[in-house]
Each structure stands twice: as structure tokens, then as C-alpha cells.
Symmetry: C2
DNA sequence: GACTATACGGAGAGGCTCTCCGTTTCGCCA
DNA sequence: TGGCGAAACGGAGAGCCTCTCCGTATAGTC
């Protein structure tokens, strides 16, 4: 089973090698200087021509999407871990939102293209976002069933809030207590007053 | 009184005319296409050379700051109106935050440079932001005195929240009810439960 | 080892920001 | 009203970026 066609050639090894190497270099590049650096510079540092880079990844968004795929899988693992470990649905939701927030700090400037992708259909990043929203909805519905979250909140809104919070973080960092404050603000926005429930820390 | 020096020449009329005309064109340009358009295109449309534009406004941020000054004054008027008209400090704060949010939609893409300006000292936009934060603090302190706002919130955090909300709005607009939802989320973040107080609409 | 599909590389087109300097225009004063 | 010097103009162009095109090199197959 599985041989698509007898005439199909095995893909060239240099292609795969180049792709992998470009990704390595881009990962380091974006991590250190943010996602707005020059793609030609990445190609040069990877020792390939610009044409090669653009053939593998037709634009910055595509390159970014490929880089995020690995991290995306890590986030899926965290999601499963939370599901497994956390009995309290409110805390589970809080942990999931926090995990997404951390994921969004992988590269400086990451929130921007994700926001842009949300408005477009044909973006590889849009699929990632949609997955996040779906998962958020699952955690949220559980929390709402248990009365831990306001019933009028939706997963999409929570995702947007986390995204926006990640976006302001770089400005907030100038003031050391702002990140916590924003986190608290956001949390007290969706969370119901925990009168009958234990402290959430 | 006030003649700085006897040798001071009156500024050239073409200079002032050009400056005003560039601002007119830029206002329209930014309003229609967002703030990321080509500055050279603005110069061309204004009928001046690029050199002239850049002599008046050394970079995009300076041009933006000049454009915002007029609108800034309008916001100051609204602030004064709120102070004059609104007795309930909680509602006053809510109205002020809403006014800032509207102000931030003047041009598509405006939140981004403002966030960037927050991290820098030498930006003309930073002064504007600082003014907003100060005013927010005033409304907030009054609201906190009256028990309408949580005591742990700070003006800076509220400003950042409004800024972030304005930033996600373009993505949120894809879904028509998101803006309201985000607004509600944010508001229930800083507002204390209004048990003893009238409904806020 | 030859043959062909496949991928590579880099020159370069087109666009943007911003600068520099020769030329023009304006305000002042006689 | 005319001349003069300061002030402003304008556009060529340097430098950087994204992305394309096509002649050349190379991997896989037989």
C-alpha cells in the first residue's frame, strides 16, 4: 500500500537538508531579533540563495508557520497534560490561557501576524489560531458548566484577550508589575467570584 | 513683549503652506489606507518632493504625532466634558476609557506606534501616551475613592488594556459581537460588583 | 555513465525610507 | 521696485528589503 505512483521520484536530499537548515537558522534569528528581520539575511546566514528560501517558504508567514509547528505540538502536549491533571475546570482554563500566553512569547512580534491571520481565510497561521480557539472553547465550556466562568464569555474572546495581552507585554515590561496587573485584570474579567470555591492562588 | 530677536525673520509662507497641505493629504491618506502607506506617495500626492516632506516631519512617527495633535485636543475637551457632567466616578471612568478607545480608532494601525512609543523616551507620541495615563489615573483614583473600581488597578494598566483592545479590534471585527464582548470582559476586570449602586447600562 | 527532472543561486526589478546639494523662492531693506 | 542673503524646495540616488526568473548544477534513475 501507499506507493502513490510508480513514476514518482524520491525527493532530493539536498532539498530536505536545505529546508531543515533554513528552519534552524530562522529559529535562531527570529528568537534573537524578532520576526521582522530580513529574510534575505536568513538565507545568506543559512548559506543558500534567496531563491531557495522563497521556494521553500513563499513568504514570511509561511516560514513562521513552519517554525511554529514544532512549538504547536508542545502546546498540544500541555493541553493534554492539563486535561489529565486538573480536576477543577476553572483552574484548568486558567492554566490553558497561561500556556497560550507563554506560547505567544516564542518570538518577539508574534502576535501581530496571528491577528492578521485571523481576518484571512487562506493563511497557514489561521488554522493554528482556529485550533487554539477550539481548545479554549472546550476548557471554557467545562468551566461554565461548573459555574467557574461567566456564561456570556466565548472562547474566541478569551483567545483575543490573551493575544492582546501578549501584544502589549513588550510595552508593559518597561514597568515590571504591569504584566501581573494585566493578567489579573483579564482573569477577573472572565472568572466568577469564587465564593463557594477554594482559593486559586 | 516677546520679540525674541530683532534679526528674526518671519517664517516663509510657502513653508507653512506646504506643512499644512502635507498634513491635509496625510490625514486623508492615513484615514483611508491606514498608517502604513508610503510617505513618498503622500509627498507626491501633496505635490512636493520627498525632501520637503522629510524636512517637515523627519519620520513617520513625527508626521503621525502632528496629525494626532488636533484630535488630542478634542479628547481633552471630552475629558473636561466628562468631568463637568458626570457625578458618578465609576461611570466617569468608563466614559473616559471609551473615549480613549474611540480616539485610538482614528487611523487603522494606530495602536502599534503608540505601544512602541511607550518603551522609548524620545518619542513625540510618548508624551501623548503619558498624558492619557495621567488622566486615566485621575479618573481611576476618584473611582477607587468611591469604591467603584478595584483598589489594585493602576491607570497605566487600564491604558494598556484599552490600547490592546483597540489593537485586536480589527481582528475582532470579523466577528461582530467580539468588540462588545471584549469591552465587557475588560470592564468587569476593573469594576467592582455594583451591589449598592445603580445599573450602569 | 548518461539522461532528465528537480532544485539551486544570484542578478535584478520594483518599492520603500531617508539624504544631500544644486536651484529656486521668499522676506527684508534700501 | 530691485537686489541680496537666508531659507526652503525638489528630485536624483544610496541603501535596504521582498520576491522573481532563468541559466546552471546536481541528485536520482535506469
Amino acid at each position: 500500500m501507499g506507493a502513490a505512483g510508480a513514476g514518482a521520484r524520491r525527493p532530493r536530499t539536498d532539498k530536505q537538508r536545505n529546508r531543515a537548515h533554513i528552519l534552524e537558522v530562522a529559529e535562531e534569528f527570529f528568537s534573537e531579533r524578532g520576526i521582522t528581520g530580513s529574510l534575505d539575511a536568513i538565507a545568506k546566514q543559512a548559506g543558500v540563495g534567496p531563491g531557495t528560501l522563497y521556494r521553500h517558504f513563499p513568504n514570511r508567514e509561511a516560514l513562521l508557520a513552519a517554525l511554529l509547528q514544532t512549538r504547536d505540538e508542545e502546546l498540544v502536549s500541555r493541553r493534554d497534560a492539563i486535561r489529565r491533571e486538573e480536576a477543577d475546570s476553572g483552574i484548568a482554563l486558567a492554566r490553558w490561557l497561561e500556556a497560550m500566553g507563554e506560547w505567544l512569547t516564542a518570538f518577539d512580534g508574534l502576535p501581530e501576524p496571528l491577528r492578521a491571520a485571523l481576518s484571512e481565510e487562506t493563511s497557514p497561521l489561521a488554522i493554528t489560531c482556529q485550533g487554539f480557539i477550539t481548545t479554549t472553547d472546550e476548557f471554557l465550556h467545562a468551566a461554565q458548566r461548573d459555574g467557574a466562568a461567566h456564561p456570556w464569555v466565548r472562547g474566541r474572546d478569551l483567545f483575543l484577550t490573551v493575544l492582546a495581552t501578549a501584544w502589549v507585554r513588550s510595552a508593559a515590561l518597561a514597568d515590571e508589575s504591569s504584566p501581573q496587573a494585566l493578567h489579573a485584570l483579564m482573569q477577573s474579567g472572565w472568572m466568577t467570584p469564587r465564593t463557594e470555591r477554594g482559593p486559586l492562588t
